[in-house]
């Protein structure tokens, strides 16, 4: 059987890379003594897969993943046992059981909502921020440098931006609500988007990204 669950990532553990998050979860599952299913081959590993990776430094309220178990277990028991072994800043919410045949999460994910806080090194005004955002959204192109196999490539990320709302601007802090595409082949790069929109105001700004939700095409998932 498989269990689909979402983990939260908050605080210092946000700086753990996705690869290390995988290892951290594996260790938590082992401490919880879960009946994990393992892959075949020389280096067997637990069968855990993620809807998508979370960039290092981002916090999140909804990182969906699935894990295959070799014995039946209720979602409640799964959550309880795992949460007792989760390190500070990570915990599970929303777990449910699913059939093995269900499509993998990474194929179903479509978009995500982000709550972004920006700390500027000087005071900023609502007008300036609104203007910068509008200017970026009005254009057909928002160009960022993206690292690809062939080297750094200039990429247009405008098509992946679904919406940007300026929620609040106060002194040196601004908050944004951003909706972006998220698919198995990639998704909206939030931090580069912010740089592209706001570097003109302050290239030294500190950008803190929080993934508030993930949306899937399957009706069974939120």
């Amino acid at each position: 059987m498989k269990i689909i669950a979402a983990y939260h990532k908050a605080g210092a553990i946000a700086y753990t890379s996705h690869l290390d998050v995988q290892r951290t979860l594996q260790r938590a599952f082992r401490r919880a003594d879960l009946p994990l299913s393992y892959s075949q081959g020389f280096n067997p590993h637990p069968l855990v897969s993620f809807a998508t990776a979370l960039a290092t430094g981002y916090t999140s309220d909804q990182e969906w993943f699935e894990v295959k178990l070799s014995q039946e277990m209720t979602a409640e028991e799964f959550m309880e046992r795992v949460n007792a072994q989760m390190p500070k800043g990570m915990w599970l919410s929303d777990a449910f059981t699913a059939a093995d045949e269900m499509e993998t999460l990474s194929k179903l994910v479509q978009s995500a909502r982000y709550d972004v806080t920006v700390h500027f090194s000087h005071e900023v005004t609502q007008e300036d921020i609104n203007a910068a955002v509008e200017k970026a959204l009005d254009s057909q192109e928002i160009m960022i440098m993206k690292k690809t196999k062939g080297g750094m490539k200039n990429t247009n990320i405008r098509p992946q931006v679904m919406s940007v709302v300026v929620k609040q601007v106060e002194n040196t802090v601004a908050r944004f609500d951003i909706l972006g595409e998220l698919t198995v082949t990639g998704g909206l790069r939030v931090e580069p988007l912010l740089h592209a929109m706001l570097d003109g105001i302050d290239p030294e700004m500190l950008i803190l990204v929080h993934r508030a939700a993930m949306y899937f095409e399957d009706a069974r998932l939120p």
Partner: protein, 596 residues
């Protein structure tokens, strides 16, 4: 520290996880009267792999009203970020400024981390020299294997622990707390510390009977505190697995190996205890690998009972078992096959010298037959990748000995190809590695001059040419001034403290890391202080001359080392002392060792 400032710093560095803490099993204490900073002067990934620090973290945090937090050397990008933002170096647990700790303890595992000690003190706003620090400064001491010759860093330390830290570190903390409660001055505290066994107070050398400091030995390992709950990091570290210390000390007496002398006598843990520790640590960490550690685990008297039991238990939990530091002459054939089944860990053998003659000189008592049998067993058990460690520049070494290395490598290759094709695992990789010999204090070779770099280069070329065309053999050689510096600091005196400060001022950091090592700056630092590397590293010392570490008594006598040196020059071997006591301790310490 303010959250926004911390986030700002973390966003400016690679691997921010190095500085955030929050590991599974991290200790949190809301209140404590005494704050202890356990410092490892290298980056997180290295420090977190150190066994001794894990033990001390547990012991110190087990003390009532004492909170022990960790601080590692900040990587160069974090050092810059801290300076740019005017922030002090901070601990992982609570982000407390290093300056605000009561006691600071450094673990010194290798000499080339010394500049990082200065970085950490600098970023805490703490003066380097003990004599420049006032009453308001933390008590600063250190421990670890380097302290057998502590003179190069003695001027920076209030106190230095020689030997096992389990008991004495707690004693230092207790004396500190007592002195504080009584309103004593730092000097009065230092006088009391100087009376503790194994504690060297540089300021008080020669004062009031503080003439010789005897190494502290934890005699009963079976009942000593161990790791407790091992920390599980959120990023990869060098040794990312459960650490089980099987025993301490070694009976083989290889003459180049300092650890073999400074950790005597051998003290074992029972197999019942080891199995129990392994289970507990696996359960409380979730790790999928257990390592059985000691200087020579193959010599553990109950290995053949322990190993199958551990492997059975771990196999059920899908945990692999790693056995590093295995001597070639350990008989492990059946165990090898089982180990191969669970997970493929690499196999390393260290013949150290290419001919029996030279192996006899250095008392590494393994024969060619031992090596070929061991690799034969390994190949048959499914391994196709083995590492062979050698050293260049050993005393009495001739070109014939170097060519002997190539000869051995070719013979190992031949063993593989002699096996029927169906039986052998594909892709033979024999990795030959030859490092530069560094003579160390408290070994029979402490009087030996280090070979010059030019000579080492010549020897490396000789070996490289001799290995050409050997099937499946790769040669890894590394020529670096680093080994010369290591030779200087390991047998150095207090004058080197000034050299260290100069080198630090010129930007020397993380010297044991290739990408940061600045040989030119070091050369300048030596010159500016009127000393040469040659006088420390390449000078031949007379066995009668006084040595900078003569005031340290590691329990093995100088007489014994002299005798071993003479035997080395004759090419005579000394047996494993489990066979017969060789009398390395003076009569005074005979009862320290169960074998004497």
């Amino acid at each position: 520290m303010d959250k926004v400032i911390l986030d700002k710093l973390l966003h400016q560095v690679e691997k921010p996880t190095r500085y955030v803490g929050g590991e599974w099993n991290m200790v949190e204490k809301s209140e404590a009267g005494t704050h202890f900073a356990l410092c490892f002067p290298d980056v997180y990934e290295i420090g977190m792999s150190h066994l001794g620090s894990k033990i001390l973290y547990n012991i110190l945090n087990g003390m009532d009203d004492v909170y022990c937090e960790r601080v590692y050397a900040p990587w160069t990008d974090m050092e810059k970020a801290l300076r740019d933002n005017g922030q002090p170096l901070f601990s992982l647990e609570t982000k407390r400024s290093l300056r605000d700790f009561d006691i600071i303890g450094f673990s010194l595992l290798y000499e080339m981390c010394y500049t990082n000690i200065l970085t950490m003190l600098d970023l805490a706003g703490i003066p380097f020299f003990a004599c420049e620090r006032g009453e308001d400064m933390p008590l600063i001491f250190c421990g670890g294997p380097c302290t057998v010759n502590p003179e190069p860093i003695a001027p920076f330390m209030d106190a230095i622990v020689i030997g096992d830290g389990e008991d004495v570190d707690a004693e230092i903390v207790r004396e500190y707390r007592k002195a504080k409660a009584e309103g004593r001055s730092k000097d009065e505290l230092l006088q009391r510390l100087a009376k503790l066994e194994g504690v060297y107070v540089p300021k008080l050398l020669g004062v009031d009977g503080h003439d010789v400091i005897t190494r502290r030995i934890c005699k009963d390992l079976e009942h000593a505190e161990y790791i407790g709950k091992q920390l599980v990091p959120h990023m990869g570290i060098v040794h990312d697995r459960v650490a089980i210390e099987v025993m301490r000390g070694c009976t083989r007496g290889c003459r180049f190996c300092q650890a073999g002398y400074i950790y005597r006598p051998v003290r074992q843990r029972s197999k019942e205890l080891l199995l129990k520790q392994a289970k507990e640590l696996v359960d409380c960490t979730g790790y999928d690998e257990v390592s059985l550690l000691s200087l020579s685990t193959g010599d553990y008297s109950q290995l053949h009972e322990l190993l199958p039991q551990v492997m059975d238990c771990m196999e059920q939990k899908r945990v692999s078992v790693a056995l590093p530091s295995l001597r070639i002459d350990s008989i492990l054939k059946d165990d090898l096959e089982r180990m191969q089944q669970v997970r493929k860990t690499g196999l390393t053998f260290a013949p150290e010298a290419g001919t029996q003659r030279l192996r006899d000189v250095i008392n590494k008592n393994v024969t060619e037959e031992d090596l070929l049998r061991a690799v034969g067993d390994a190949f048959e058990a499914g391994w196709s990748s083995v590492k062979l460690y050698f050293m260049l520049g050993l005393p009495t070494e001739t070109d014939e000995d170097i060519l002997g290395i190539a000869d051995l490598a070719r013979k190992v290759s031949a063993v593989y190809y002699a096996m029927p094709k169906e039986k052998r695992q594909m892709g033979l990789r024999i990795s030959v590695s030859a490092s530069t010999f560094v003579p160390k204090p408290f070994t029979p070779f402490q009087w030996v001059p280090q070979c010059s770099l030019e000579e080492i280069r010549r020897k490396q070329m000789l070996l490289k040419n001799a290995l050409k065309g050997a099937r499946g053999v790769e040669y890894h050689c590394h020529l670096s001034q680093l080994s010369v510096l290591e030779a200087c600091f390991s047998r150095g005196d207090r004058r080197l403290a000034d050299v260290l400060v100069s080198a630090y001022g010129k930007g020397c950091r993380f010297d044991s890391w290739d990408e940061h090592f600045k040989p030119q700056m070091w050369a300048e630092a030596f010159e500016e202080n009127g000393v040469t590397m040659e006088e420390y590293a390449n000078r031949e010392r007379s066995v009668d001359e006084p040595l900078p570490w003569d005031h340290i008594d590691i329990v093995v006598t100088k007489d014994y080392l002299k005798k071993e040196y003479e035997k080395a020059l004759q090419g005579t071997t000394t047996d494993d002392c489990r066979k017969k006591c060789n009398g390395c301790f003076a009569k005074r310490y005979e009862d320290y060792c169960s074998l004497s």
